[in-house]
Symmetry: C2
Subunit: 234 residues, 2 copies
């Protein structure tokens, strides 16, 4: 899904399963020097701040979120190792980004993006692939948020996380709190907790501790995750 072919050659693209690497066609845009480090809970950028850079997560987990007028918080994205961060706006950030764990990032200059891509056709192409994929992926989340049952939504979330994490075994490291998860899914922490309990009692997952899950039956989880198990609507 992530890579595409050009002249029969594999295009690594901007995001990659090797988070610590920057593809050669992008290295010219990376800001030189050591990757930047953020402690747990540190703010990476603030909502409303001018966008000067974007980042690639080397290690750790980042939450991209906003506090809504009523005081409620919504998390737009969890950025995992290998994924990009900081494209949540055109001129200024429309969300803030915070480190869920300790985080290491490589940084790219945003203002040089256009001139850089005019000179680097490979970079321009991998950027187009990346944006098109992301654009095409957004409606899936629309569906989850719109036609969600909490169970479907949580199950999908777990499968999504384990797919995006490198070790595709049954182990799932949940770095974020239940509150983070609920603010990402548009639910309450209580509901998330209840759903996890149901899934555990049904034997689909095992909860080693609050931040370590085992996905015991991915087949059944996938079934549960497929939207609209029951409801009618319309």
């Amino acid at each position: 899904m992530q890579s595409s072919t050009l002249d029969g050659r594999l295009l690594p693209g901007l995001t990659s399963s090797f988070p610590f690497m920057v593809a050669p066609e992008w290295s010219g845009l990376a800001i030189p020097g050591q990757p930047s480090r953020f402690l747990c809970s540190a703010e990476i950028y603030a909502e409303g701040s001018k966008i000067r850079q974007f980042h690639k997560v080397v290690s750790g987990t980042v939450r991209v979120c906003r506090v809504l007028p009523g005081g409620r918080r919504f998390i737009a994205q969890f950025a995992l190792p290998g994924e990009l961060l900081g494209l949540d706006g055109v001129e200024e950030h429309r969300f803030s980004a915070e480190a869920v764990t300790e985080v290491v990032l490589v940084t790219f200059a945003r203002k040089d993006l256009d001139t850089y891509m005019d000179q680097e056709p490979l970079a321009a192409q991998s950027w187009r692939i990346f944006t098109l994929e992301r654009l095409a992926a957004a409606p899936d989340r629309f569906i989850l948020l719109g036609c969600r049952s909490p169970t479907e939504h949580v199950a999908h979330f777990l499968l999504d996380l384990v797919t995006r994490s490198r070790p595709v075994c049954h182990l799932l490291e949940l770095n974020m709190s239940r509150y983070d998860i609920s603010d990402y899914l548009g639910l309450t922490a209580e509901t998330v907790s209840r759903v996890l309990t149901v899934l555990r009692k049904a034997g689909m997952i095992a909860i080693e501790d609050n931040h370590t899950l085992h996905l015991l039956d991915c087949g059944r989880l996938t079934e549960v995750a497929s939207v609209s198990s029951i409801p009618a609507g319309r």
Copy 2:
């Protein structure tokens, strides 16, 4: 929002308030001949079909939708005049597109996109602006779908539609049915109807007929539309 400057010159971009026009830097990619016409309810493309083209709406309204496993339908997008259509996938369409009214489209070849943009820096840049804007806009809908109250969501929908329609007066032509609206907002038609009644009784809108609304008090509508009027959640 739509246009950006390059060398002090205004970049019209790919989408524009003049739906019948194709910006000069894009004309080379447009498939020559008459714009294509679709009757009301006609299918423009099918879910799962290979993506060969994308379109710009000249006139009419298009719904981009998918029928979910349980039989429920979800509408990912309403494409209005001047807006683009057919970017709902990388290799194949992940949604189908249907004409809500009679629809006229101009068509672009998808396979020539990469080579074309390598030759046309202006086209490449307006494409980047477009995709970045769309990418940055997606989270707003996440919030609406996730933290929605039906009232907030419907009010926002009305304001969004009237903004995207040319005549920015208080008149709003609703081409789609209540079912379309509900499938777009992740609600039921009954709920949409109830909310409209509430807004009407509160004097914020007037319902001339089922497809013609007057937004009488956009200020108050905007207030209502701002997410999280009341709820706590976390």
